[in-house]
């Protein structure tokens, strides 16, 4: 490989948008882009659940394909998924409050939910990875320059394998809202990143879980890359008092549904040989 290529800009220098507009402009752009998506749908287009071409999220401007993806029949490898199990993930990796010598600062909480396919069937033995900011809204990542404190007792990354009922469960602290440089006074609603494998590689998904009642929802271009309100609502966990542990932790519930085919679709049905 030639080493004469131009040097890339330092990644942290790319985080501030070029025009750095006010929130009012971004909010209006979100409203307009959602209206445009509704028109696209009315005209028979299928823009997808998440809009990759979403200018209010400035980082997407040069990173979204301009052509629609080719609709293809999945091949054999894509109908299968990498296999994960106990060998890959230790049980203790699902408790983000136990990774250091002391207790992290913040509101201790648990998240419980099910990983399902589009027919509501549980997806067993699959990998879920989570990562998040700390209670003050600071990521441990070295390029996060937000001047909120790091917590020596919190990293903010965990993993788990779904059980036979497709359920997952982890313990953490509630992340804080987090400022970023998409526009002036831009704040991300508190969220936890989820990376999920289904039973087919077609079903691979990375998304974000949010918390009920966040006042930042309407202002946030990333949350709003999902153009339909009902789809956005599905990213919000439910507070569940039955999951709350007295004098210990707050309980939230959030189910994840994967899309796309897997190998079981192609196994002949009985009598269909």
């Amino acid at each position: 490989m030639s080493d004469t290529a131009p040097q890339a800009a330092a990644p942290e220098s790319l985080l501030r948008s070029a025009d750095f507009p006010p929130q009012s402009q971004i909010t209006q752009e979100i409203i307009d882009r959602h209206a445009q998506a509704r028109e696209q749908i009315a005209a028979g287009e299928t823009p997808g659940r998440s809009l990759r071409d979403f200018a209010p999220y400035r980082s997407s401007l040069l990173r979204h394909p301009t052509k629609n993806p080719r609709l293809v029949d999945p091949e054999t490898i894509e109908l299968h998924s990498p296999a994960f199990g106990q060998r890959d993930v230790a049980a203790i990796e699902s408790d983000l409050t136990l990774q250091h010598t002391g207790e992290p600062q913040g509101e201790r909480m648990t998240v419980t939910g099910r990983l399902l396919d589009s027919w509501g069937r549980p997806i067993r033995n699959q990998l879920i990875e989570v990562w998040q900011a700390n209670a003050a809204g600071r990521y441990i990542h070295q390029r996060d320059q937000h001047p909120a404190p790091l917590d020596p007792n919190f990293t903010g990354a965990g993993r788990m394998i779904t059980n036979d009922a497709g359920e997952y469960h982890f313990t953490t602290i509630k992340p804080g809202p987090y400022p970023w440089k998409n526009h002036i006074n831009a704040w991300r609603p508190a969220h936890i990143h989820f990376s999920v494998f289904g039973t087919g590689f077609t079903q691979r998904i990375i998304t974000q879980m949010y918390f009920p009642g966040d006042p930042l929802f309407a202002l946030d271009p990333i949350y709003n890359t999902i153009h339909d309100q009902k789809d956005r609502d599905r990213l919000i966990a439910t507070y569940d008092h039955d999951l709350t542990v007295p004098e210990f932790s707050m309980g939230y519930r959030w189910d994840i549904v994967v899309d796309g085919p897997d190998a079981t679709w192609f196994e002949p049905e009985e009598g269909e040989h």
């Binding site: 890339a8 330092a10 990644p11 997808g48 998440s50 979403f54 999220y57 980082s59 997407s60 040069l62 990173r63 979204h64 394909p65 301009t66 052509k67 993806p69 080719r70 609709l71 293809v72 029949d73 091949e75 054999t76 490898i77 894509e78 109908l79 299968h80 990498p82 296999a83 060998r87 890959d88 399902l116 589009s118 027919w119 509501g120 990998l127 990562w131 990521y139 441990i140 990542h141 903010g156 990354a157 990143h193 990376s195 590689f201 077609t202 691979r204 998904i205 990375i206 998304t207 999902i226 599905r234 990213l235 549904v257 994967v258 899309d259 796309g260 085919p261 679709w265 192609f266 049905e269």
Partner: protein, 198 residues
Amino acid sequence: MTASAPASWGEPTHVPTGGQTVGPFFRFGVEYERMNEVAFPHSPGAIVLTGTVYDGEGAPIPDAIIEIFGADTDGSVPDARGSLRRDGFTFTGFGRTMTEDDGRYHFWTRNPGPTPGPDGRPRAPFIAAVVFARGLPDKLHTRIYLPEDDELRASDPFLQGLTDAERASVTAERTADGYLRHDIHLQGERETAFIAFR
């Protein structure tokens, strides 16, 4: 999309969860030891798959995640666990890496052999790939085909339907070392052919 599902299943009952960007600060959440060593480096049959991820102005993208899942050299689909805890000899077919500051990525893996399609007919060998990045609101699926196997490539149902430029965008180059080199362009004149599944 439900066209492929057995009729007895009926219509889907659950709406899929939408995807969201990985943001800029994912490394500490998704990194693990030897994650890009799908095959143990320099073991027999191991090759490097490398390339650069570019944006619409041809600038390298330093904050993307690439994942690959591929068949073994004999075309078999791996079903072994252990992608997260590599033992150094089991081929699980799955690997993950992140682009470096200059937009480059690399894996150690094996050349996939041809795997028959779900209909049992032959297909051109490829490695399935998914791209995530800051600024990319949802995952992008694509394929990385081997440049050889002219006959299989000529009859492959996906490759047949592409223009020459599109076909080139999903075909790796073989280097003098026998490695694979494959750039990914999220946008622009050389935009990679991305796929969605029926």
